[in-house]
Structure formats: C-alpha cells, structure tokens
Amino acid sequence: MSTNNKPHYDVIIIGGGSVGTPTALSLQQAGYKTLVIDQFASIGQGSNKKAIGGIRATHSDPAKIRLSLRSIEIFSTWKELYGDDIEWYKGGYVFVARREQEENTLKKLLVTQKSFGLNIDWLDKHEMLEVVPDLNPVDLRGGTFSPDDGNASPLLAIHAFYRQARARGAEFRFNEKVSGVIVENGQVKGVRTDKGSYSADVVINAAGPWADDVGKMVGIEVPVYPDSHESAITEPVARFLDPMIVDIRPMPGSSNYYFYQHYTGQIVFCITPSPQIWGKDDRETSTFLPMVARRMVDLMPRLKNIRVRRTWRGLYPMTPDGFPLVGWSQEVDGYLLAVGMCGQGYMLGPGLGELITRLVDNSITQDDEETLSYLSPYRQFAGQELLK
C-alpha cells in the first residue's frame, strides 16, 4: 500500500496555533508520536499571535470553566516547572458596570459562576476603586472581580509549548499547507500537503479560522466563521493597573472592549466591533483607534496620555453559539475536531490539549464527558453565550 513508504505518525495536527501546539506537547508527553503541520513560516503565526493574552476561568459554563482552570494551572506554574518565563501575571479580571443593565447581567452571571466554586465577587463602586483606582468614578456602579485570573504572553507561551514538545520528540513542519486528508474506507490514513504526504492514525483539525477548509477535506461542514477584531499595544509604563478590565456595555460600533497592563508595562487592548465584521480580512482599518480610544479614555482617563505603539487585526474563529467544537467526527474515523475557539483559544489551549490527549487515549473521565457534551460538534446551536 502506498501509505507504507510515507513517514508515519500516531497523530497529525493541522495547525500550530493556540490549540495545536499545547496539544502536541500533551500528546507527545503521553507517548504519541506527533506531527504538527502549519502553512506559515513559524509557530503561532495564525490567530495565536494576535491574541492579547487574557486568561480567565470565570466563564459561565462548566466546560470552559474546567478547561480554563486547568490552563491557569499550567500557565501559572510553567516557569517553576520548565524554567522559561512566559510573563504570567495574576492580576485578575474586572467586568465593570456603569449602567443598571450591565450590573444586572453581571450579577445574574455571578450566581452561576459562584455555583462552580469560582473565586469571583461583586465589588461596589468604592471597593472597585480600591482595586482599580484609575477608573472614572462618574457613573461607576461597581463590577465583578476575580483575582485568580490573569494574563501571560501568547508569543512566549506558545514558544514554550513548542520547545517542550520538540524536546520530547514532536515534529513540526512549517511553510507547508495541508491540501487534503487521506481517508480509506471511512478511516483517516494521513494527510497530503503541498510538499508531500504523511500517514497517521489520527488527524486533528486545529486549523483555527481555516477550520472549515480543513473540514471540507473530509467532506464535513464545520461551522466556524472567522470575524475580525483589532488590537493595539502601547509604550511601557510603570505598573498602575492590575486586572484585565472588560467593559461589556454595547455602544454604537462596538459591543465590548477589554484591556490590561502586560507584564512588560505595556497596555494591550482590543475591541469587538458591532455589527461583527465577517471574513478573513486582517488588514488594519482606520476606524478602530478612534472608536476604542474614546471608550477607554472615558472609562480610565489616565490612559489619555499613554502612547500607542502598534496596532494589528486578527481573527476570532467564531461558532454559531460562541462555544468551541471539540470531539470525534461521526463521519470519518480518526478525524478529531478542536476548533471554533472564538475569542478564547489562547486561554483554553493548554487545558484542551490534555483533554484531547485523553480522547485519543480513550481515557476520558466523567467530568470530561460533561465538558465534551457542551462542546460537541453535533449539538444544537441554541442561544448565544452571555460573556464572549
């Protein structure tokens, strides 16, 4: 058979991004010979490098909470365990409320979040100003604060995962685009690329915004539709802000925006346009900075004088309900989906990588079953998630 003379792997991951990379590490650690293939020249050049680095467990469903709690463990202990600094900073997350509407939304959520045992609380205006003294007190009603959340550098983190995966024998091929998935008798056999073919027992679609294209390679529709978000980073200044600040109040042109002060002292921020801008266009627009600047300066006047250094635009791989799509294909044996990360692929990645290893390993736990039921690619897409 033709597959005999191709290099063989236990698992091939299509996409060396926020999900594919920690997954490769986890699989290789569990003894699976893994190959990651990416179309770009180096690791994390898809959506991963566009992420601003927020990591929180304070979601509103058990699946994402569980995955993120594990991710936080990995991010926060990384330096101790592996030595390299990924600039983890436990600054917490603050969702602010300046109107009754947002106050109600957040308080309602808080009940669910607390029921999962998350360390999150409501702070009134006064308490909030103690945590974030630079918030504009005018109209401030308070907000939620979850001190155990944090942030880390997406650039350094993915490199750390990549290095460790390689050190354990995982292989990576860059500048190589997967053009087809080889299927024989309903069973995955490997992949074809613009440079060659590789055989494997399991193929994982971790192609981020390109998930649907990679789905079509086995004849399935993957409902991942990228939309674009713009982002920017400032000059570094001495630390004055600890938590990530999220403002979910919709305004003309945008639904929410968020920012934090990175480990290096730089403010990183980004906005969700409204209506959403669908498609893969990731070229900078002129509308982003004026829109986000007004909102940020109004919420935190001190930001008025900080100098913006660089801007970029990236893609969220969105799904109809804002939840990822994770699980085995029912059509093709050995084809695993790990896509549709929306705006949270970076924080979900490390936890998800381990879950995927258990899927491949056939060793999922009861908790995993529940997690996977939320993320099933075959679920009904009902409502929209409250906190995106």
């Binding site: 005018v138 350094l156 000059e235 266009d281 627009t285 007004r294 300066v297 913006v308």
Partner: protein, 695 residues
C-alpha cells in the same frame, strides 16, 4: 556650566534668541526659546538623558527625529521625547530612569469627532522631492495637501550648508541646500491649490485607503486621497558594534540637526563611521562649526561618496581610514574613545591593527534606507501611490528634486490632467542625477608658463556642472548631454581673465586659481575657503595641501578675500613656489594632536553588541536563535522582543538581516518582519480627539 553652542559660523547666521530657564534634576538650565529640550541639554553639556528600564544602560540622543524613544525625559511629570518637545520656562525636567510613571488625569477629558478629509493628492514629506512635486501639481491647479513633520519645509535641505551638485539647468546646482529650501518653499507657497501642514506626521495607511495624520502635533485627522505621493525621505542605517548604544553614538542626521538647525556644538572631538557623502559632508559641517574631527573609517578600499567631498575633508587634515572598521565605542556612561581596525577583503578586522582614539562622539553614516512603509501599505491596499526622492531611491537632493518634478507630472496625468507625457529626456536627466560616482582619473595639471589659469582638481565622474556655467568665457567644458563628465579647461594660458567665479562657485571646492602674471616663479594661488576667518586665527602662515591632503609647504597668508556674489565662500590668497603652486588644493585648519591614536586600544566583545536598542537585545541572543534554526523574523521578535520597541524595528531590522548574512543564510530564506502601523507612538487621547493632550 559651560555652554556648548555655536556662536560663529561661516555660513549660518546666528540669531539672537531669547533665553529661557528650566530645571534639570532641580538645577536651573539656560536654554534658547524655541529649541528642543534635547538641544538645550546638549548645549549645557548633558548627554545622558536617562537609563533603560531593562538593564539600566544610559540613554541619550539617537535619531533626533521623533522616531525612536531613546531620548525620553520626564517633563513636568509627562514622559516626552526630548528631541521633539520644546523647552518651556520653569519646566521641571527629570531623566527617564526605568519605566516612566503615567501621570494622573483627574477626570475624563472632553472628546470630539475625528476630522475626515478628502483630497486629490496627499504628499507625505516637504523636502526637495515633495515640494518639487507639489510645485508641478500646483502649476496645474490640482489640489494638494503637503504634510511635513518638521517646523519648516525643506526636509534635509535645511541642514545642508554646502552648495549643491547636479545640473544648473535641471535643478539648483551651485546653490546651498539651505537656500534651495527657501526658494522651493516660496515657490510652493505661491500655488493656491497647495495646502501645507507643518508639524504633521503621517502615522499609517489603512486598508480603507485612509491615511491617519497627526496634525500640528496633536490632532488626529483621517485623509482620503485619490493619489498618495510618499516623499518621506530616508532613514539612517545603524551599525552593530560594541558600545553602539552609548550616549554619544548617533547618526549623521541627528548630528546635522543639532549643529546646523539648533546651532549646538554637541562635540569637541568627533569620529565618523562611513565614507559616503553623508559621512563626508557631516565631517565638513563639523569642521565648519569648530568641532575637531578625529578621523573617519570606511570599510571599503575607497570612500563611496564624491571624491571632492572626501578631498575637502582630507585637505582639512582629517585622516581617512579606508579598509577600516569600527570595533567599539568605549566609555562608561558616554563615549570616551573609539577603537578601529583594518579589515581584510572579507571585511573581517585584522588582529594587530587595532587603534583607539579619544573622542566624545561617534557618528554613524553607513547608508540610508528609503522610508517605504507607506508606499508598500498603500499598494497593498489598492490606493494609487507614487514615491519620489530618497523614499523611492537613495540619491542626492538634486536627484530628489528632479524625481519629484517627474512624479508631479505623472500624478497629474494619472488624475486625467490634459498635459503631455513626461518628456523622455527628463527620465534620462533623472537617471544621470541619481548616478553613483563613476571613473576617477589621474589629476592632470595644466602646463602654463605664464598668464592665469584655473586648476580643476575634479577628477571623478559625478553629475555636476556649475563650473561650466559660471565661466562667462565658456572656457570650462562639460557636455550638456551628460553632466557626469569631468570638466576640462580649454583656455590655454592666455584666455582666462582670472575672474575666480569658478573658484567660489564649485560645490566641491575643487577649483583653485594660479596667477603667474606678476611673478612666474612665485605665482599667487587663490584657494576657496568656507570656514570662519577666526578659524585661521591670527595665523600668518598656513599649511597648504594637495588634493589628497598631503602637505606641500607652509605659506604666508596674503589676504582673505570676499567677492561679489560669493555667497559666503571666501578666498585665501597665498604666494607659492612654481614647483607646486598648481598642486595646491586646500589648506589645513585642524592641527594634528587630536588625530593621534591613544597608546592602547580597547578590546571588543561581539556577542554583547546590542542589536535592538529599544528592547536591549544583544547579537548573542539573536545569533543563538539563528543557530537554532529560526528563520522567521516574526518569530525572533516573539521570543527575544527584538523589533518590538518604540522605533518599530526601523533601527534593528537591517541589523538582524546582517546577522543572518554573517551566519551564511541568504536573505531569501529569511521571512521578513510584518510591518504594522504606527509610524511613531501617539497618545491614546489623540485618537479620541481628547482635550488637553500633552504633545
């Protein structure tokens, strides 16, 4: 405190400026009204402006152009770039040590809408290229918005005190850069359809074909042009060597800004790296400002700049070390000395040839790169874009003027103006003006027994023709077809009347006049001279030199003459023995002590060399990544932070390529850094049209 200012200059007028007092670390400092904080600090002998937050290394002036953030200081609690921020009476200025504290803002400012504007043509850059294009478009009544980030139009012309090369017909050859700037400015301002915004910086070209502009240093405006012309000039390349980020190491452009624009004497003893025109001219400007030039290194066996520029410097007694490179800038907090060494054919330093010289400043003049990011983005986003001048291709200002003119006509045609095509011979002239120096010939001295004759010490093919135009008897010939030819004097020994117009008008100061009429054995020699009379001092004698700077003898100065229309060039008259009278090409004003090497040279360590000065990333760190197989500069940036700094990798990107080359990796295997807006850092509040932005 002693003041380091230029109080006398052979070319530049010294204006009387009002004094302002501000405080540096609590000590009162006297400054001149209208100057930048950086210039005021330099004028007071302060060159270390702070220490880097990452490793505490001393920081100071680097680009003097608002592009990097090396010169950050804290002025009245605000972190500001001292090269852009003007002094204010009573301001309290502190060094930026570590990360600056973002000042408190008591309440949300009032915010407005961002102004949007549509224009037929937006020109970025009001230098020779941009202005020349605007003039052509203005003549046709086409609407132009011309923006420039400086306080006045002229670009680099306003820093050029020397006469320009080029063609008298096509451009303003023979006129000083500073004066060409004024002429072009007057002309461009005469066109009603041209609007000019100064202190206005283009920040980004966006995919919706709008160009973000910071107007008047504080207002953000979005401009939608039908055509974009990028005439934003060039940026200086930087160089990797040990100590390359010490305060006192900076570019020739920064130096010319301090000296010729701000009239600061930033140095006593200067060393120059790079023998192109930029380095050679900067050296000459230094001498004119009374600054000693210790030497100049050029890695190639010959200087790349015009020979006449090199000769001018050599004749002033500046040693030119060809086939040499800089090994290190030495000093604790500032430059105290430089170490150079000879290089082999592979440009590797030859052990044992190291020499160190005491100096306080090292100028880096190792070439220019076009400012091309706007052109690339515009083309990528489908906005019709043209580039002119250095932003298109690095050449002389004369070429920039001519290319601006051509682009002006091309843009008019693009917009449908009913005018003929650009004439073919314009393109040819444009090419000639852009050409690099050609062949160099042996110097031939005229055989004249009597009479009077000019001696043309001009032996290299360069695009320049003022001498042939200045001779009213048409005795100096340069082909109109190709002004790169070397001039020839066709007058024999009887035709020249000795008017000396060619002597004072040659931009290269490469013509002398020998007059045998009174005493054929001891003829009079007239030497062009562009220094202050004081530089010759009370001296009665002066060493005369040949073209290469070799001393021929010491002669009595008979007179220092001015002439009508001399435009500040003086003539020094000496009487010389017939044996070498015609070889005299210049005189030495710089005495030798500063050009002698120190006893011991200072060693260098390569891997410590800083490649990314903004983020303090060393050559060793990047080399190690290259060795591990990293080929994507984006990836190198992600792990090392090289390229993430305030300058947006403008300084370090070419150096990273150099490390790849050194490692034997061809450029086509290297993935380039993704360029993103912004051109420079701008306060967030500007994008919100917030009131009270401190910029």
């Amino acid at each position: 405190m002693p003041e380091y200012r230029i109080n006398k200059h052979p070319i530049l007028a010294i204006p009387d400026r009002k004094k302002v007092t501000f405080f540096w670390q609590g000590t009162p400092i006297t400054a001149c009204e209208g100057e930048t904080i950086a210039s005021a600090l330099f004028a007071n002998g302060i060159r270390v402006f702070g220490h880097h937050h990452k490793d505490g290394s001393p920081q100071g002036i680097f680009c003097a152009n608002g592009q990097c953030a090396q010169c950050l200081v804290i002025a009245d609690t605000m972190p500001v770039k001292s090269c852009m921020e003007l002094v204010r009476e009573g301001a309290r200025v502190e060094p930026a040590n570590g990360l600056p504290v973002l000042p408190h803002v008591p309440e949300a400012p009032r915010m407005g809408e961002i102004e949007q504007l549509q224009v037929p043509v937006l020109i970025i850059g009001g230098g020779p290229a941009g202005m020349s294009a605007a003039i052509e478009l203005g003549k046709l009544g086409i609407g132009v918005l011309l923006i420039d980030d400086k306080h006045r139009l002229g670009g680099k012309l306003v820093l050029q005190t020397h006469r320009f090369f080029g063609s008298t017909q096509a451009v303003y050859a023979g006129t000083r850069g500073i004066d060409i700037a004024t002429r072009l400015e007057n002309e461009v301002r005469g066109h009603a359809s041209v609007e000019i915004w100064l202190q206005s910086t283009a920040l980004a070209v966006f995919s919706d074909q709008k160009v973000g502009v910071l107007k008047n240093g504080g207002q953000y405006v979005l401009i939608q042009p039908q055509v974009l012309l990028v005439a934003a000039g060039a940026r200086e390349k930087s160089l990797a060597f040990k100590g390359n980020t010490l305060p006192g190491v900076y570019g020739a452009g920064a130096f010319q800004t301090l000296v010729n624009r701000d009239l600061v004497r930033p140095s006593e003893k200067l060393f120059i790296v790079g023998g192109g025109n930029v380095g050679l001219i900067a050296g000459y400007h230094a001498l004119q400002a009374g600054i000693g030039v210790v030497g100049l290194v050029e890695a190639l066996p010959e200087c790349g700049g015009y020979k006449v520029h090199k000769d001018k410097l050599a004749r002033m007694g500046v040693p030119i070390y060809t086939s040499h490179t800089i090994l290190s800038a030495n000093g604790d907090d500032e430059v105290e000395s430089v170490t150079i060494a000879q290089v082999n054919e592979k440009f590797q330093p030859i052990p044992g040839t190291e020499k160190s010289f005491a100096c306080d400043t090292i100028l880096i003049a190792v070439g220019l790169d076009p400012v091309d990011e706007f052109t690339h983005k515009a083309k990528e986003f489908g906005l019709p874009a043209f580039a002119a001048g250095d932003a298109e291709e690095i050449a002389e200002a004369s070429a920039a003027m001519f290319s601006g003119k051509i682009k002006g006509v091309e843009i008019a045609r693009h917009l449908g103006a009913d005018i003929p095509d650009v004439p073919e011979d314009w393109y040819r002239t444009g090419e000639i003006l852009k050409s690099k120096p050609g062949n160099n010939f042996e110097e031939i001295f005229p055989e004249v027994p009597s009479g009077v004759t000019p001696v043309l010490h001009c032996t290299q093919e360069i695009p320049c023709n003022p001498c042939s135009e200045l001779c009213y008897l048409h005795l100096i010939q340069i082909s109109h077809e190709d002004i790169r030819q070397v001039p020839t004097f066709t007058g024999g020994d009887t035709s020249c009347k000795g008017c000396k117009r060619c002597v004072i008008g040659c931009p290269g100061l490469a013509i002398t006049l020998v007059d045998y009429r009174k005493d054929p054995e001891n003829p009079l020699v007239y030497i062009p001279y562009e220094f202050t009379r004081e530089a010759l001092g009370e001296r009665e004698t002066v060493a005369v030199l040949d073209t290469q700077g070799k001393e021929l003898g010491v002669l009595e100065v008979l007179a220092i003459q001015t002439m009508a229309k001399n435009d500040r060039t003086l003539l020094v008259q000496v009487r010389a023995p017939r044996a070498y009278a015609h070889q005299i090409a210049g005189l030495r004003i710089q005495e030798s002590p500063i050009i002698t090497p120190l006893e011991q040279y200072v060693d260098h360590v390569e891997d410590d060399t800083i490649i990314c000065r903004c983020e303090r990333v060393s050559a060793g760190e990047i080399r190690s990544l290259i060795r591990q197989g990293y080929r994507d500069i984006n990836e190198i940036k992600a792990v090392s932070r090289a390229g993430m700094g305030a300058c947006g990798s403008k300084t370090c990107n070419t150096l990273i390529y150099r490390l790849f080359r050194e490692a034997g990796i061809p450029a086509n295997e290297v993935i380039d850094n993704t360029r993103r807006p912004m051109f420079m850092e701008v306060p967030l509040g500007v994008f919100a049209a917030a009131e009270g932005i401190e910029e």
